[in-house]
């Protein structure tokens, strides 16, 4: 009876002991003709209950497990004459072994499923990192000439707008808040650099001369006919081009940010108040005075100014795109009429012919850094030339500031003289050659050789042509 109980326990543990599965499966086999035990082997449920019985003494459990392992550790079964165990040809645990086999298959399925799932999740995460929108708002910075436009740029970034979206909104905002320095009727240049790809594009939306503009007309009456000074504005096409290349938010949404500034009003900046007080254009029209001096005198810094007219223009541009500005609509007709009324020669055709240029910036290497700047007709090459000249001086923190200032002054004289030779390369092929010279380190070393460490040059080293004759 004790042996039967032991066999019963043995079978129970043989199938489910957590101690050593391989050892247990090498237990001595029982004979096929072994009489059925008085107490039947426990069924699966009973065994589960046994193993799961919280009242089972853990010490006796382990003791019995050790006892059952003893025979299997013997290499000579026949020497155990006193043992109640006999050799058998049939595995009494065949059912249990088959069950184990099934359980092994189940384990394989589970492991395979887990691995597949984990691989899928990993691949999805990697793809999200590289191709998806950033889930964590990282660092960024915006700087503009007006705090309200800086805040607007930050707002665009916070709404998952791209850097170019933020720049476009901020630039339009400046056209509202700082009308003395920029606006829809002007132009500019934008340099965009992609850090990851090390790619740069320059979008040049500088104004171009009207088709009917002649030097003689300007020479004769530029100061009495302000309409002659009006070039074809590039701002709208340039910003739209930048947005087409790099925008993430819809064009209409980006313009709506700026339109809200014009509609809701803004605080007059110190700079605008100063310009309205001291730099009003000569013969300012009634419309100009009504718009910017609504109370009849220059506004104080901080006072509220609204521009619902510009809000409406921005809404139209947001809906219709640059075509509303350039393709002969009301906005085009108004600008042409206003300029022609003031002696200008600009036409609707000039507007429809205008296009912003997308090109590569000029670049130079200065002390291990790549410096990117606009090509002609902008004076980026002169800036790089100045850096190339300065690179050869022993400019360190050990050199006195005064000595460094002297070198800088002499270098800038050369760079500015070089800048005065530049112009639009589309109209003069020699400008490309001048530009190549300016970017050359050898040429820079040549210029540096003409700079004295102790004396300012009495006369310019290079011929100087007219530079910024008018205040900008």
């Amino acid at each position: 009876m004790a042996a039967e109980n032991e066999a019963s326990q043995e079978s129970a543990l043989g199938a489910y002991s957590p101690v050593d599965y391989m050892s247990i499966t090498s237990f001595p086999r029982l004979p096929e003709d072994e009489p059925a035990p008085a107490a039947p082997l426990r069924g699966r449920k009973d065994e589960d209950a046994f193993l799961g019985d919280p009242d089972t003494d853990p010490d006796s459990f382990l003791k019995s497990a050790r006892l059952q392992r003893l025979p299997s550790s013997s290499s000579e079964m026949g020497s155990q004459d006193g043992s109640p165990l006999r050799e058998t040809r049939k595995d009494p645990f065949s059912a249990a072994a088959a069950e184990c086999s099934c359980r092994q298959d189940g384990l394989t399925v589970i492991v395979t499923a887990c691995l597949t799932f984990a691989t899928g999740v990993t691949v999805a995460l990697v793809m999200q990192i590289y191709f998806g929108d950033p889930q964590i708002f990282q660092q960024g910075a915006v700087v503009t000439d007006a705090s309200s436009c800086t805040a607007l740029g930050m707002e665009v970034l916070s709404k998952q707008g791209s850097s170019v979206d933020a720049a476009v909104a901020a630039a339009l905002c400046l056209g509202i808040v700082a009308p003395h320095s920029s606006g829809l009727g002007g132009g500019g240049v934008m340099l965009v650099h992609d850090i990851r790809r090390n790619e740069s594009h320059l979008i040049d939306f500088r104004e171009s001369a009207p088709g009917a503009l002649r030097e003689e007309a300007l020479q004769r009456s530029w100061d009495t006919k302000p309409g002659l000074l009006v070039g074809v504005p590039g701002m709208v096409k340039g910003l739209h081009e930048a947005h087409q290349l790099y925008g993430r938010l819809p064009w209409s949404q980006v313009l709506a940010f700026a339109a809200a500034v014009a509609q809701d009003g803004f605080n007059v900046t110190h700079d605008l108040a100063h310009a309205l007080a001291e730099q009003l254009p000569p013969n300012a029209s009634d419309r100009f005075l009504d718009t910017f001096l609504p109370l009849g005198h220059p506004p104080l810094p901080g006072s509220l100014l609204r521009r619902p007219d510009l809000a409406e223009v921005l809404d139209i541009l947001g809906t219709s795109g640059p075509a509303a500005f350039y393709n002969g609509g009301n906005l085009t007709l108004e600008m042409v009429a206003e300029a022609q009324h003031a002696g200008g020669v600009i036409t609707e055709e000039d507007f429809s012919n205008y296009s912003a240029l997308t090109e590569k910036p000029v670049c130079g290497v200065y002390r291990g850094h790549l410096v990117l700047s606009p090509p002609p007709p902008h004076t980026g090459p002169a800036l790089i030339s100045a850096l190339n000249i300065l690179e050869g001086f022993n400019l360190t923190s050990l050199v006195s500031r005064e000595q460094a200032l002297h070198w800088v002054a002499e270098t800038l004289k050369i760079a500015l003289a070089l800048a005065s030779r530049l112009g639009d390369p589309v109209y003069d092929s020699t400008i490309t050659e001048s530009m190549d010279d300016m970017l050359s380190k050898v040429e820079a070393a040549n210029f540096r050789g003409h700079i004295s460490d102790s004396q300012a040059a009495p006369a310019p080293l290079l011929p100087v042509y007219e530079l910024d004759g008018a205040p900008t």
């Binding site: 970034l157 990851r196 104004e207 108004e334």
Partner: protein
């Protein structure tokens, strides 16, 4: 000129400078509220200025042509690899802007000053037409005396140009305005 500098979380750097030329451009305002520029003043033609400097043939007036420009949005990155200093700079003040940018780049890249200090330090500009070396109000008397001793004719002015900047070093980004500007602002997402 107006400046916009952006370094966004998308790893793009944007530097933009725009202008109407003179304050309020031509002063012409359309019924829709658009101020028209006066950019044709940036062309060169004979006898335009009082100093009678030689006109530039390369920058003469021609239909469809773009005039010479000192709008200089500038970006700096490491020449090799990704690690190091990135800069976005802009300047106003026409030719004075070129002088200002050169000196700020020198302060950051050569003298290893931080961006705020680099923008704040005094700047100079040689006016080629008058042969005067203009220095701003940040210059000390000692510095001016030294320059004069070297043969420079120094003229002190309040402000030459505003240079704003943004800098990124690895993942740390900062936006800084020129302290001379009363209204500009730089904001950084931390």
């Amino acid at each position: 000129a107006a400046q916009v500098l952006v370094m966004g979380p998308d790893d793009f750097i944007v530097a933009m400078v725009s202008s109407l030329n003179r304050p309020f451009g031509s002063g012409l305002l359309t019924p829709s509220g658009i101020l028209l520029n006066s950019q044709m003043l940036d062309f060169s033609w004979p006898n335009r200025t009082a100093n009678h400097s030689a006109p530039s043939l390369e920058n003469s007036v021609q239909p469809g042509k773009r005039p010479l420009s000192f709008l200089l949005p500038t970006v700096v990155r490491p020449a090799e690899g990704l690690c190091g200093t990135y800069l976005a700079l802009g300047a106003n003040g026409a030719a004075r802007g070129l002088s200002g940018l050169t000196q700020v780049l020198l302060n950051v890249l050569t003298l290893n000053r931080n961006l705020s200090d680099s923008l704040a330090r005094g700047r100079l500009h040689p006016d080629l037409q008058s042969n005067l070396l203009q220095v701003d109000s940040e210059f000390t008397e000692e510095e001016i005396e030294f320059l004069e001793a070297r043969g420079h004719h120094v003229e002190k002015v309040d402000v030459l140009s505003w240079v704003h900047g943004s800098r990124r070093t690895n993942t740390f980004i900062i936006g800084v305005k020129d302290p001379r500007s009363p209204d500009a602002a730089g904001a950084t997402i931390l």
